[in-house]
Symmetry: D3
């Protein structure tokens, strides 16, 4: 029987000019839907898991479009609450070469940002669930939503459900101080932590020496150190850190490291020609949860998660549209891109 995973967060309307057009040139905008935890849910549904996404969306058609975008890929939307005033929006301009991608958020006042603990019945939602996932973006939406997160974490722990969190710091949503305080409280309930070095530093002030994220150079020992500090402080069973080297908006190197409390497992490193970078980290989370629930060995776990997210970078939209077979094939070594007939 398929494992059941619950993810909780905001899903937004994503509006993006076609191709490499800039905002000021666009006469139409691609309209898709996404958000950290929703993206993870789609990844898992595509792997055949029983993934449910929990959020609050407005009752009108735009809210319904967000629901449909998830149903289309098999995500269970029966716990999604209807109400509130609007669906959060983000505008995305795809970068190229030296020109970076640009995101403009328009999410204030969204149904999810105004959700409260009264909106969700976690006992019912967690019935039969194996895993609960959220990211640092969700509690950043406001104290009301952080309170929902806390309630969810407690309910999950009470049912012995594994809890994972992607730190995902967003400086437009809250200060580092506030983030550190709120996330510190939530991390008490977290078993598996996902981060990149910036997150650990921004949220908890945990730094690794010798790494400058804009320089593109990475320091493996530093990452080990960050992972260990995180695990030691919060008692995480696992810490996974993604390693991105940004050569240009088109070309990135991608790898990751897993710390299981004992050892450090570094994945292969992939040179990626990027189609769409947004949701890259979420697809890593999806791969990691799948691997853990499937019982992969640590090295296999990190290879699967990295291969999955490497493939995501070749796919338009927030969602990772790949199967277990496709990830396995890449993790197994075939990145030649030869036509499959």
């Amino acid at each position: 029987m398929a494992k059941k995973v619950i993810t909780f967060g905001e899903i937004m309307l994503r509006l993006a000019p076609e191709g490499y057009y800039r905002f000021v040139q666009a006469e139409s905008l691609g309209a898709t839907y996404g958000g950290g935890e929703a993206n993870v849910a789609v990844s898992l549904a595509n792997y055949g898991m029983d993934a449910a996404f929990v959020t609050k969306v407005p009752k009108h058609e735009i809210g319904q479009c967000a629901v449909n975008s998830l149903r289309r890929y098999g995500v269970d939307t029966s716990y999604m609450v209807r109400g509130g005033n609007r669906l959060g929006i983000y505008f995305l301009e795809k970068g190229a070469s030296q020109r970076p991608s640009k995101v403009i958020y328009d999410r204030a006042g969204s149904s999810m940002a105004e959700a409260t603990t009264a909106d969700f019945n976690w006992d019912e939602i967690f019935e039969g669930a194996d895993w609960f996932h959220f990211t640092g973006i969700t509690p950043a939406l406001g104290d009301n939503v952080a309170a929902v997160c806390l309630e969810a974490c407690k309910a999950a722990k009470a049912k012995n459900i594994t809890v994972s969190c992607d730190l995902n710091y967003r400086n437009k949503l809250w200060s580092k101080e506030k983030a550190g305080q709120v996330m510190g409280q939530l991390c008490e309930y977290v078993d598996v932590c996902i981060a990149n070095e910036e997150d650990a530093s921004d949220v908890f002030g945990i730094k690794a020496a010798g790494t400058d994220v804009t320089s593109g150079k990475l320091n493996h020992d530093g990452y080990k150190d960050v992972a260990k500090q995180l695990a030691d402080r919060f008692g995480f069973q696992k810490v996974a850190i993604t390693l991105r080297e940004s050569i240009s908006a088109n070309d990135n190197m991608w790898a990751a490291m897993l710390y299981d409390g004992n050892d450090y497992y570094f994945s292969k490193k992939y040179p990626m020609h990027i189609v769409d970078r947004v949701g890259g980290g979420d697809s890593f989370g999806g791969g990691l949860i799948y691997s853990c629930l499937t019982g992969f060995e640590p090295q296999q776990t990190i290879e699967f998660a990295v291969a999955a997210s490497c493939l995501k970078h070749s796919i338009e939209g927030d969602f990772n549209q790949v199967s277990v077979d496709e990830v396995m094939k890449l993790a197994g070594g075939d990145g030649s891109g030869r036509v499959q007939r």
Copy 2:
């Protein structure tokens, strides 16, 4: 020298599925910009007038797109204020046959909705101006914006600038009671009033017997009565009432009436096959202002305004993209649509 017209209100990002697709089917959304008073400004710029639009938009690229959409057609945007958090949005689904068009507003918290009197220097804005126009939507955005409207009206009157107002009642924005109170105060400063029968009834409780807007039947005597009541109560020099008969989402009849305090002038009635109905009323306002500033006779005035807005219904987007020549030709009687080579 071209006459100078100032219009004041909100400009929004309009997001609409292509053709007759419903919201739930759309994978991309046409992204244009519009709003009652902005639409009037574009009409006037297209007629060769010196039209300036006053509003407040956020500093980011989406706000800039709104500015550019107006500059493109020659509207003076130098009085537009930058600041605030977001650009208002409206989603538009085009109806067909018995299925009505649908508008979903997402305008709360917009830069304009949070603008205050401190944002605008009306003495500077009205320097050399001949006309000031706003609609009932603008004060409905909030007491703060109503206060700006009042200040603008007073400044206009102090400079002997003609003031026009399109009542344009929006029940999603305020109650009839509130509308009646605020608009009543503003109408003291208005010289030219534009309305449809519903507006007069919704805002001021002024009704004409025997007309049911959903039945598609119109009552000319009733309209005369409404116009006279409006003029008598507020001292309007002119009252123009648009007469729409809705046969289906594709087919409407369109006409209007002008009351100049003495006589009632009914325009020709046009059977319209609709391309885009939004902005139809605004294009009437633009035609009316042009006619008045150009010194047309009353019958010519109403014929020009109706022909202009009839043409608008054949044009995609909020803006009326027609020249004086094109309007004159239709007002002069050629609605045969024969190819012009």
Copy 3:
């Protein structure tokens, strides 16, 4: 609790040039999915019912796209079988004015056309179901599929599930003789029969005098007669007949009649400006099933079904994307198409 409806048939990839382009002009083809019974399932899911669609699709991505197209709108796809070689295809060219729409079928050898009784476990499928629906297209796919239909009908009857059938004769799939023989057998199990006059004549040789479908003239007494003959021969509880008058590819009149064994109920007649005519009959079936399961009175039943299908003609694609509220509003008399803000 929502009523549960099972529909059974083929879902195809629909490939259609954009707008009014002819096949020989098309450089791209809109790719949607549809088929008589799938369309009914989407209608019902959009009305909030628990609708499941049963079919067989190939295991590859194109088959998955068909599944996703239904999941997106909330149809239960858990009974869809994977296997076989291909997804049936139909090419659709939209007509205009005097030029008719054109359909080219490419469905031979499809997974569904080669499905057998071994593929479906009707006892499981019908667990908790209230209604079973199929059309005359499904048994026409081949003797193997007709055998599945028969098995399904028997299983439905054994569980006291209401069975409806839309006769839907397709001369490309089978002869009138064959159709009459197979459908005659299946109709023994049918409670609610949907047809147009051509169907009754083509399948069962039941004719009404004085009607020529290409002339656009309809004969109400003839329709009564056809309905009564059908009910008398097969013991149908209800017979619904759709009445289409084709003025041109763009303009049709649309109405229907319901016979409940006692009386004949004629709906209002709608003049339709057509956006997409395909799936019009299926949307009538969806409206009828909803009405019956909701317990509407006969006149309300036929008005709902006709209003629902009238709206379908204004919507792109096979699926009817309307809510109960929208249908109710039109059935209640507002076909003016005025903008809803």
Copy 4:
């Protein structure tokens, strides 16, 4: 063996905004190719005739695109000459309702406008030909091209090839006086003349009383008179006159009359909902030539030509994409637009 028809004229790049967008709104332009005589050649190739189009196009890729647009539909392009500087262009904006379609020509200096008698070997071109067709647009391109026309007409006559001419007056290209003089000379060689009332009046000053083309009213007796005057003056064997009533840019009535020197044959009149009106007259010419070469009776001839051109109005682009069967079906009376499966 298929009849061989030679047509001679200019083919242009047609640049048109999508749908009903105005020029000033367009960010992309549909790029197709067309021109009076090229359109006739495509009509005939689609009917299975051996149609060759003669012109001169530049050697670059845009010229090649024009060649390819004709080859694609089976037109023989082996007599097309390469050279000169540019391909003529016309910009087309599609009208709607009361807003007329608009054509902007940018054809000066085209390869064809600068072609001379040295470019064409008519003896070779006419080898085995049955019919030669040109329009009044071609000699209007300049004295050099008029000289080529004259040479072609003489060569055709020398080989007993039937010559047809569509008068097609274009006031942007030449004056009425010049047109009358040049066309008068060419018409000496013409057997079959095609015109609308405006053409006869503009080119030869031949008028029918009581017809006002912008009023939409037609006067049948007047048309008879015009046809007879034309035949009497130039000795035409046949004169065909198209009868368009323009209700709006979307809706036209369409019919025609044939005079064979003895009798007047009026076709049925079709109410058309227009998809693309450009090339409507050319498709009439194509239908007429097909009918004549096939040996249809006069009434059948005019019905075929009118049905063919009625269908053209439902098709995007200059070319008439219909088969003989489709035309026959409409001419035979089925204009109901019912789906063909």
Copy 5:
């Protein structure tokens, strides 16, 4: 006078999502046409040769589209047979970075797959021909089609027409054993053989040591060995082997080797940034045939063929849209991609 080349095989409808969209994301599919031998014919027509493509397509409009796609580029389609039930289809999803392109074939039951020797009169087809080309895909369609191939080969030999064959093994169509048996018989008539290392191994079990196609490493000595074995076994005059190194779905290295029975000629190697990889091998075949018929020296022959196919990888669709001049310029050393004004 242009050389005449006959190619024989299947042409399919190619349906591909735009850009890098996956199948499950696509709402429309680009509709083009292609197939190994059709692609070669277009290459040759674009080089100015007299290329005819022989196949069987259904009589309906989709079949006609395939004909038109070839006529558009000047291929002689007069030997194409009409009949049968359907046009074969292939679905193509373009890969990116580590994600491979994916092809789903839906070609069973196509008109061509059911063609028989009765459909083709090779004596007539080969009248005046200089070259006959087919690929291993064609006999793989079925014994009936293999029989046609054999008949064609014999007829070609009887007229001293050069015969070329691209081995092109497709494991979805037949087993290696079957392929070896049928192709072995056909190769008796072949003068020029085109292959990649996989083909030689798959079809005839001829292997070169030390090459792993998924590793991207190539072994030049191995290729020499394969070519010699092929020539020795079947008496080929020339064997050409393409050498692809797949770095990713976006980046490939491309080169080839020609063996003329005496010497081995290796081309330059091109690093390619891929726009569309499908048809790459066919464009090599087209370049090779052109070179041979033009009488190029061996080194020039292989350089032309490789440069031609290098350019193909920069072009959308199956067909190679390049001129002799463009190929010559690249073969001559200018691969800098500088703008040509």
Copy 6:
């Protein structure tokens, strides 16, 4: 107060197939507007300068579209003259990998090419201006336009306005001899000269040893020599030379050198993955003028100009759509392309 810059030249309609499609494949063409000096004006307006573009365009809608394309981005179009017959056109096919981009000009007979000194009142235009810019393309349009250039240069000098010129040799427009003669005269008035090595050689016969532009190798000493020769011959205050290394149509290296009469300043060199290469040189000119008018130091000047034009290569269309902040950020060293949220 913003600096005022006047640029003078031709603006053309740019027609380009989408993505990497070749001309012969295109069914629609993106329609944007551009031209050397217009592109510079947009660059400067985007930097917040008061930029006016001077030219002549036809009175019709296509001419208006060119005006609107500039107004949209804030360029002052009040000095644009209306008249003449047509807007110049250029067709652009985007290259990929080894396939070069291709430009077909269709600009003969344009309104601008036929403009005369009577069309422009330079005293009025230069009122309050700080800088005047033109390119070598403008005088190449004809002696009449060269005369306007000369008049403009003289008027600028009389007002102490800085004059810049980008040599920009176009061999389709004039011979090297003619160019040398006319440009030599104009350069007497020029203060700042922009060139690439080819320009200096083509126009003035000034060559640097050891550089072969198609080989992709650059010789820095040679460039110094060219700059010095140019400055010595014409007395330029500054000479800026762009250094492009063309690896393929997708990948270029980009840098530049500034000579200020004393020293040579080489910029960083950027590896660019190209989105649209057209307008690259113009964006360099825009960056250079901004830097000079802002008073940047020489090294900062060349870094800003190169970073600005590097970013241009990542943007669709002729215009450089970047802000001062974006250029500064890249010039300051962040080319990592990391997402900006």
